[in-house]
């Protein structure tokens, strides 16, 4: 089983459109995982049937029982996150500030604080129009632990792939270099970096690749909108050569991306010419 993760550093370079195309092309040979849990969009193109859904619990938040509270203030004193302000002469937990460390719980003399497990989102297993299974999720508003939800999505995808004897897992990652990205990279066999020839595209590619290197995973790169700025595109190619990253393909600046999306379709369904050919060849190289 080969686990392929698609990331970009910078957002909006075309990761999801490209991943969804691979999901179509891979068809029943693959399991798809949408690891961009805090802005998951893959389902908009894959017509999932939402067959199974489960709540995801992770992490805890403090809660003060006002009847037991003797207002000693120990909890507020030890909290490093200013999460227990006094409101109307009561110690009340500010949920957005609370990190769930539990320090307050340990210093409360009257056991007035409980640490409550949090429902931070939902995850789903769906059958898609591409005749494969999509594992996806939705993180709750402002929830923490997106890294853990990513791990859950990936582990479910792995389990399904193993049980049903699938060859590939194709995972759509999130932008950035923080915990959800780290979580989506862990255990991957190959990384596809989707970039664009803009100063920020190149800058973010370099940063996210430093992270990929720490994981020792081999990588390939797709340059989207390659004709937007040929000078920066050449700088990207140079970077790929220096770092031994496979240059998988170039896609042109093309509003077909948007048109396909607006139609609820992947590019390989919407376009039967140039873009489709490039993506078919890219998928052949990647797998």
């Amino acid at each position: 089983m080969k686990e392929i993760v698609i990331i970009s550093g910078k957002g909006g370079t075309g990761k999801t459109s490209i991943t969804a195309s691979f999901a179509m092309l891979g068809g029943k040979d693959i399991v798809v995982a949408d690891c961009d849990v805090d802005a998951a969009d893959m389902h908009l193109l894959m017509q999932p049937d939402w067959e199974r859904s489960e709540d995801f619990y992770s992490g805890v938040l403090a809660e003060v029982d006002q009847e037991k509270c003797v207002k000693c203030g120990n909890c507020a004193d030890v909290c490093r996150f200013s999460a227990i302000p006094i409101i109307d002469k009561k110690y009340v937990v500010n949920k957005l500030n609370c990190e769930g460390c539990g320090y307050c719980f340990h210093v409360c003399p009257t056991d007035a604080i409980t640490m409550k497990e949090q429902n931070v989102g939902k995850w789903y297993i769906s059958n898609t129009k591409a005749d494969n299974v999509l594992v996806h999720a939705r993180l709750g508003i402002g929830a923490e632990n997106s890294g853990k939800l990513v791990a859950k999505v990936k582990n479910e995808a792995k389990r399904i792939a193993k049980e049903t004897g699938k060859q590939f897992i194709v995972a759509d990652g999130s932008p950035g270099i923080g915990c959800p990205v780290v979580s989506s990279l862990s255990g991957a066999d190959f990384v596809v970096l989707v970039t664009e020839p803009t100063v920020s595209g190149l800058h973010d590619l370099k940063r996210v690749y430093q992270l990929v290197k720490k994981f020792n995973i081999s990588a390939g790169c797709i340059i989207n909108k390659a004709d937007l700025n040929t000078k920066v595109a050449r700088q990207i190619e140079e970077f790929l050569r220096e770092e031994n990253i496979i240059h998988i393909s170039d896609l042109p600046y093309d509003e077909t991306f948007t048109k396909a999306m607006t139609n609820g379709q992947t590019i390989v369904e919407y376009d039967d010419a140039n873009l489709k050919n490039i993506l078919v060849n890219s998928w052949e190289k990647i797998k």
């Binding site: 910078k10 802005a39 490093r80 320090y103 923490e144 950035g176 923080g178 607006t262």
Partner: protein, 288 residues
């Protein structure tokens, strides 16, 4: 006045708007732009100012002192993040999992875990004409953006008084880094594109802002592509649409080179003038 520029979806034009609006406003007012997308900070590629200050930023993590430790195991028990683990006669600390809550350190009966600073990133301040620019970047391998964002906001509060218009370029998404970057803002601009992905992620961002009880408005970027669903959504939900930025390949080309757009494209500048007027009016009315 603090204004955060956020979006659910990445790549919808946060940085484009932030750098152009900040530069434009700085022509007539005191402005500080702060890049809070500490994982992938990009504003600096467009604001090529003079570096006037840099400092390392640290988070506090426990350090184990073997000689003092009695291996009672209390540290492991109180750490909710599995950042302190006892393995045989060793206490292992995993800094990337640590949230700097101090519980292990201060609850240790023999003071065997003292808190020491660990570098997580760096902050730089630049000046370009009337515009001040502050950016922080997270070190590669550090997983938590929130502590660095919080410290960067403290730096802004300390160094720039209320005469400044403070613009924050926020990270994408709707999870904890976005909350941190927007929670102190007086007004939040959500920038989106009129596509299904744009709409879907805007919906999440709107829910987040409502949860935070923020004043916010929407700017539609690349107006003309996709469909009208974003505009209908805003109308239905009574969300002000502050501006529609045109879809134009020339904008993408200017952006790709790291150039400011309003100086070369009057139609883009016209929209910036409208946005600036909108924000200045909010300021006069004293929104909070």
């Amino acid at each position: 006045m603090k204004i955060a520029i956020a979006s659910g979806k990445g790549g919808t034009g946060k940085t484009t708007l932030a750098v152009n609006l900040a530069s434009f406003l700085a022509e007539s007012r005191k402005v500080v732009l702060c890049d809070l997308d500490v994982e992938e900070p990009n504003s600096g590629l467009f604001i090529k100012g003079n570096l006037i200050h840099r400092e390392d930023k640290f988070k506090m993590i426990p350090e184990w002192e073997k000689e003092k430790c009695t291996l009672c195991g209390h540290c492991q028990k109180v750490c909710n993040f599995h950042a302190v683990i006892q393995l045989g006669d060793q206490i292992m600390v995993f800094p990337e999992l640590c949230h700097s809550c101090y519980a292990c350190s201060e609850l240790c009966p023999v003071d065997a875990l003292s808190m020491i600073p660990q570098k997580m990133g760096e902050l730089k301040q630049f000046k370009k004409g009337g515009l001040s620019f502050v950016e922080s970047r997270l070190d590669i391998g550090q997983e938590q953006a929130v502590p660095l964002i919080a410290q960067t906001l403290e730096y802004i509060d300390k160094n720039f008084d209320d005469d400044f218009i403070k613009l924050f370029d926020a990270p994408p998404g709707t999870s904890c880094p976005v909350i941190e970057a927007t929670k102190d803002a007086d007004f939040v601009i959500l920038i989106t594109e009129p596509t299904p992905f744009g709409l879907h992620d805007l919906t999440l961002a709107v829910d987040t802002m409502r949860e935070l009880e923020k004043n916010f408005g929407v700017i539609v970027n690349r107006h003309g592509i996709g469909n009208n669903d974003v505009l209908s959504f805003c109308q239905k939900k009574n969300i002000p649409v502050i501006s529609k930025l045109p879809n134009d390949r020339r904008i993408a080309e200017l952006y790709s080179r790291g150039s400011l757009i309003y100086q070369k494209m009057p139609e883009f500048k016209k929209q910036l003038v409208n946005i600036a007027d909108y924000l200045l009016k909010l300021q006069e009315e004293g929104i909070r």
